[in-house]
């Protein structure tokens, strides 16, 4: 590799410079021989040029390699994360995953970077030691004796700084907490005149920060001057011992000057080795974490013999399905459910009754513990994942839209979809009107950094998105809960449109939304406890009435109707 070769040449050039200088002084300056001095100067400049060019090359290769490794690793990690199953993402927090993609990979990058640079440093050290020893063991001794201590001191310093550094970070975080609280809760603070109280709290935190910072300063004061002193001791030794050797005729002045140079040349490599050790342990921990993710197999994937999804009207069957999240307590317990093609069924139940779970098992976001879920007679476990997912259109409870144009959001399932389909889907969902009123119409960018839409508008775009690919099954998971009840009827109209001729599963608790369905299934404790039309269940099922009533209380909104 180019970098390695450049590194070696660089080391050779670098290490030769003090020797050349020494010779120049002995042969040129001391005898007063001008031409010799100039000759040596030329050699010096050549060596310097080689060193300079090689430094550029070796740095570039080392950094480039480290960057490449970092970039590729991050790519792998992210690609893998995208494919991991829901259960994994349920456990992992976005923030943590971001930290892995960022900080952990950064640590690995640093190590990859340090390694070639450290190798060059080690080579330098070895070369210098050899040169000095060959010239004069005594001089080598005096010059180098204090240097191992430097390495030890530098390593110990980094070691001790780390916990104190972390402690300081914590204190700063505490202080930040008080500030954040005081600013976010400023109405309370001002409302009760509690400013002095908060000031006292801050004073305590500021004092803690002071204490830790002084602790860090003390560490620096103990180590850094020492680290600076040690090479100087070497220089003193060179002057004294080397000087006497010159007087005895064993060494030359040039040797002394060269030795000075060499000692100074060793400082940085010594500290570098210390840094590498520290970095290695941190990088190892990071690599462990990244590897853990990469080693996790996506639990939901295609079986070897996965076959296509048979065509059909979109009949959904649950046969004796038992399922618990993370293999824990079963949320569904031997559930049997049949939804005929084109039928609209409302799933109702209290929280944790299993209704959302039913919705998540159909597109096979999780695998059942026992029993089977099938679409048009095909077990979703044995069918191609792509087909299963395409056959189900999903509107989640919390609408997630991406930072992209309205058009791209709607065409999410099929990026190649012609504008006609987008338009059609938008019309079905009753979204076309308001979209056309947006500043850039369908090309308006929405999402976090884009145009702000109301809850109802977002839901309608989500509905359009769900129906674009014309799925045979539509699942609406609490699709109206986040919407203002007075606007809800608009969504309901849209829903009625898209539900035509499609198997639809509605998870809701508002009677008006439930009324959209042909049939209502009441779930409790993972089993079906009632099944029939909304009116029949109101009459016959006390649990049903209870669930609806409780839901309504939860829902009692505080909207003040706008004056007509």
């Amino acid at each position: 590799m180019l970098g390695v070769v450049a590194g070696v040449i660089w080391t050779v050039a670098r290490v030769s410079i003090p020797a050349i200088t020494g010779e120049a002084i002995d042969e040129g300056v001391i005898p007063g021989d001008e031409s010799v001095a100039l000759e040596w100067t030329a050699i010096l400049l050549t060596a310097g040029l080689i060193q300079a060019v090689m430094t550029g090359l070796r740095r570039y290769s080392a950094f480039r390699l480290a960057l490449r490794v970092e970039t590729d690793l991050r790519m792998r990690l992210v690609a893998h994360l995208q494919r991991l199953h829901f259960a994994f993402h349920d456990r992992a927090q976005t923030g943590q995953l971001m930290a892995h993609a960022n900080t952990d990979i950064q640590q690995i990058h640093m190590v990859v970077l340090l390694i070639p640079l450290t190798i060059a440093s080690v080579l330098t050290m070895v070369a210098v030691i050899v040169i000095l020893v060959l010239r004069s063991p005594g001089l080598a001794f005096f010059a180098l004796v204090s240097l191992p201590i430097l390495n030890i001191a530098a390593t110990r310093f980094t070691h001790k700084m780390h916990p104190v550094g972390l402690a300081l970070q914590e204190e700063l975080a505490d202080l930040s907490g008080v500030v954040e609280e005081s600013v976010t809760g400023v109405r309370v603070v001002k409302g009760f005149g509690a400013e002095r109280m908060q000031e006292r709290r801050l004073q305590a935190e500021a004092s803690d920060v002071y204490g830790r910072s002084i602790e860090m300063a003390r560490l620096r004061a103990n180590f850094l001057p020492l680290i600076d002193l040690l090479p100087t001791l070497g220089l003193v030794g060179i002057l004294w011992y080397g000087g006497h050797q010159v007087l005895d005729g064993n060494l030359t002045v040039g040797d002394i000057v060269a030795a000075n140079f060499y000692v100074l040349m060793l400082i940085w490599p010594l500290r570098m080795v210390g840094m590498l050790l520290g970095q290695l342990s941190r990088a190892a921990a990071s690599a462990g974490r990244v590897n853990a993710i990469l080693a996790t197999d996506p639990a939901i994937h295609d079986d070897k013999n996965a076959h296509e999804l048979a065509p059909g009207p979109g009949e959904v069957r649950f046969d004796g399905v038992t399922f618990g999240y993370g293999g824990g307590r079963p949320v569904l317990d031997g559930l049997d459910l049949v939804i005929r093609g084109g039928e609209a069924v409302a799933l109702v139940g209290a929280t944790a009754s299993g209704k959302s779970t039913v919705a998540r098992l159909i597109p096979r976001f999780y695998d059942v513990d026992s029993g089977r879920v099938s679409i048009d007679g095909c077990d979703v476990h044995e069918t191609r994942l792509r087909d299963v997912r395409r056959s189900v259109g999903l509107v989640f409870e919390d609408t997630f839209l991406f930072s992209d144009t309205v058009r791209s959001n709607i065409a999410f399932a099929d990026t190649g979809a012609p504008f006609e389909s987008v338009l059609r889907a938008a019309r079905l969902a009753g979204a076309d009107e308001f979209i056309s009123d947006l500043p850039d119409g369908y090309d308006t960018v929405i999402g976090e950094h884009g145009y702000s839409l109301s809850g109802g508008q977002r839901q309608r775009i989500a509905i359009a998105r769900a129906v674009l690919a014309d799925p045979r099954i539509l699942i609406l998971d609490d699709a109206t809960s986040s919407v203002d009840p007075t606007k809800e009827h608009e969504i309901r109209n849209a829903l009625r449109e898209v539900m035509e001729g499609r198997t639809t599963i509605i998870i809701a608790h508002r009677p008006a939304t439930i009324a959209l369905a042909d049939r209502v299934v009441l779930l409790d404790g993972g089993k079906i406890v009632a099944d029939g039309t909304h009116d029949r269940l109101l009459e016959t099922s006390a649990p049903y009435r209870e669930v609806l009533a409780r839901a309504e209380i939860e829902d009692l909104s505080d909207t003040l109707a706008e004056p007509a």
Partner: protein
């Protein structure tokens, strides 16, 4: 003394010359109290740098006096002095670090307290005009950026300047001819460093930009991973990330290209310096103008000429960031609170009668309230009702003196709020906000916000008065239970109860209540209602009502519509009037009509 951080803080804003001078002047004023210590430390630093500079000179002495003249005694003397200098340098270095740290950290601590105190004194309009994140950043990331400068940068800065200046002086003293020859090389190093600084700053800003884009693509794909998988878009999202990932790589590589051009130049200049010394110095030595020792000393001084230039260039970024941070901080310190206590302020009485006298108020030149007049008797419960943005919340804030009216006045028991002491104001008028806000600490501490000097017994008495004592005692550690930041251990309802307890502890004569809009579980809802009733007993209550059921129960209702007081009267009176209130009530009650299902 090689610094060299792998990742540097790149300043986004740089100060102009006048701005920088202004910041420095203000800074010096803040540092005045510590000027003696600063003077002392400067002396220590000068001495320390002196010991560093002595080394090469002693080598010269050793070579010229010791070796040339064949005098072992002189050699020993030189070596001994060198050793003494080195040890002296150790102690002085230690002292310098400790002293600078103490001065710097003291300064930071003082700045933190001062800035926070000032922030707390600012009125609500400041907080509503700025984003929370930015205000917090003043106290945290801005002051933290100063920390870096103070803990390391400052010492290095001064040392490097002294080192450079000292070296220049000494080499001139040794031989001005050779010195000139060497100093010719300093400008190129300086220029190269400056070029590097500007180019790499720009490149790093680009890197930061691309990292932000990359990470935000990643964050979005992780947050929306369920949607991505539901629609089978894993592949395309991965490709999209691939693009931003490569973009980040390219930007980083650019910075590497820049530094790969800079470092060779610097390294070569170092060698060139040595070459000049050997070549030119050799000639001067042959001419008898300089001694060998001088040449040797020059070679050794070369380091302390070039290193400081590079180090200072590296420090440039740290200094710029710190300067920008200081400027922002001074900006805050210069902001004056708009709602202040006047000299000669009097304490408010305890009766609790409120007079709103022809009040007009505008916010950011948008009129919010116009000519509102209202008399509220002591002990009366009045509900403010009206559509969002009509001005009812603003009226409540004016009564609590979070803002001052543009014209007109608000009087409590005959005293204009602007003439009242802030202390008595906060004691007599208490605001219970919409959402219960809880601080990190125990439940005792949280309720104590109402009256910080209250004892634990008084806290319990306040809870008991609202019928809440048992409920709070039921917590794992009772009232000493630690509540985490933002009250994450408490439910929304419980946070409301804490809020009410604070008000009870404060024992005000006037309550301003911004009714909670979030829905609570039925059990807590009942307790909140009951506690609220008890709290309002015997006190004047101004309730910003969001639920008409609350308004209906008040003694009187004030309908605020379009910034004016549209209707005023009891529920019965207004329902019949067929005005705004009647219409609101009709619409609300029809929405409520559902078959009784319980």
């Amino acid at each position: 003394m090689r610094g060299g951080a792998w990742v540097e803080a790149v300043p986004e804003e740089t100060l102009s010359r006048e701005e920088a001078q202004w910041v420095i002047r203000r800074l010096l004023k803040l540092l005045r109290p510590q000027r003696r210590a600063i003077a002392f430390v400067t002396v220590v630093l000068i001495a320390q740098v002196g010991t560093l500079l002595a080394g090469p000179w002693l080598v010269k002495y050793g070579i010229d006096q010791g070796l040339d003249d064949n005098d072992p005694g002189a050699l020993n003397f030189a070596a001994a002095c060198y050793l003494v200098m080195a040890l002296l340098g150790l102690f002085l270095g230690r002292a310098a670090i400790l002293l600078v740290a103490r001065i710097g950290e003291r300064f930071l601590e003082d700045l933190r307290n001062r800035l926070f105190k000032h922030l707390m004194s600012l009125s609500l309009d400041y907080y509503e005009g700025e984003k929370t994140g930015r205000i917090v950043a003043r106290m945290t990331s801005d002051i933290d950026s100063l920390q870096e400068l103070i803990s390391q940068g400052l010492v290095l800065f001064v040392q490097n300047i002294l080192l450079f200046v000292g070296s220049v002086v000494i080499i001139f003293l040794l031989s001005w001819q050779l010195a000139l020859g060497v100093l010719v090389l300093v400008p190129p190093v300086y220029l190269a460093s400056r070029w590097f600084r500007t180019r790499s700053n720009k490149a790093y800003l680009e890197v930061r930009d691309r990292i932000a884009t990359n990470m935000s693509t990643l964050q979005e794909s992780l947050e929306g991973v369920r949607v991505v998988q539901a629609f089978g878009r894993e592949g395309s999202f991965t490709r999209q990330f691939g693009d931003t990932n490569e973009a980040q790589f390219e930007a980083n590589l650019e910075t590497v290209r820049i530094s790969s051009r800079y470092f060779p130049i610097v390294e070569f200049t170092g060698v060139a310096g040595t070459a000049v010394i050997i070549g030119y110095g050799g000639w001067l030595s042959a001419e008898g103008v300089v001694t060998v020792g001088t040449v040797a000393a020059f070679v050794l001084y070369l380091n302390s000429l070039f290193e400081p230039v590079q180090q200072l260039s590296q420090l440039y970024n740290t200094v710029q960031s710190a300067g920008a941070a200081m400027q922002k901080i001074f900006g805050v310190l210069d902001t004056k609170p708009t709602v202040r206590e006047r000299p000669g302020a009097v304490d408010l009485e305890r009766a609790g009668a409120i007079e709103v006298d022809d009040v007009t108020f505008a916010y950011l030149s948008q009129p919010v309230l116009s000519d509102v007049s209202l008399s509220i008797a002591a002990g009366e419960r009045i509900a403010l009702v009206g559509p969002t943005g009509a001005g009812k919340s603003t009226l409540a804030k004016l009564i609590a003196r979070f803002y001052d009216p543009g014209s007109g006045a608000i009087l409590v028991d005959g005293v204009d709020l602007r003439d009242a002491t802030m202390q008595s104001l906060r004691e007599r008028i208490v605001v219970v906000p919409q959402e219960g806000f809880v601080f990190a600490g125990t439940l005792y501490d949280n309720v104590r916000v109402g009256r910080p000097e209250a004892t634990d017994d008084e806290v319990e008495a306040a809870l008991s008065a609202l019928g809440l004592l048992e409920r709070f005692r039921a917590f794992p550690e009772g009232l000493s239970t630690e509540v985490r930041e933002r009250g994450s251990r408490l439910s929304a309802g419980e946070r409301q109860l804490v809020s009410l307890a604070r008000a009870a502890l404060a024992d005000p004569s006037i309550l301003v209540l911004d009714e909670a809009t979030s829905n609570l579980d039925p059990g807590t809802e009942a307790q909140v209602e009951a506690a609220l009733e008890r709290l309002m007993q015997g006190r004047t209550a101004v309730v910003v009502a969001h639920r008409l059921s609350t308004a209906a129960r008040a003694d009187r209702i004030a309908v605020v519509y379009d910034g004016r007081l549209a209707e005023l009267g009891t529920h019965a009176e207004l329902v019949v009037q067929e005005g705004h209130y009647a219409a609101l009530y009709a619409a609300w009650s029809s929405h409520q009509a559902q078959p009784d299902v319980a």
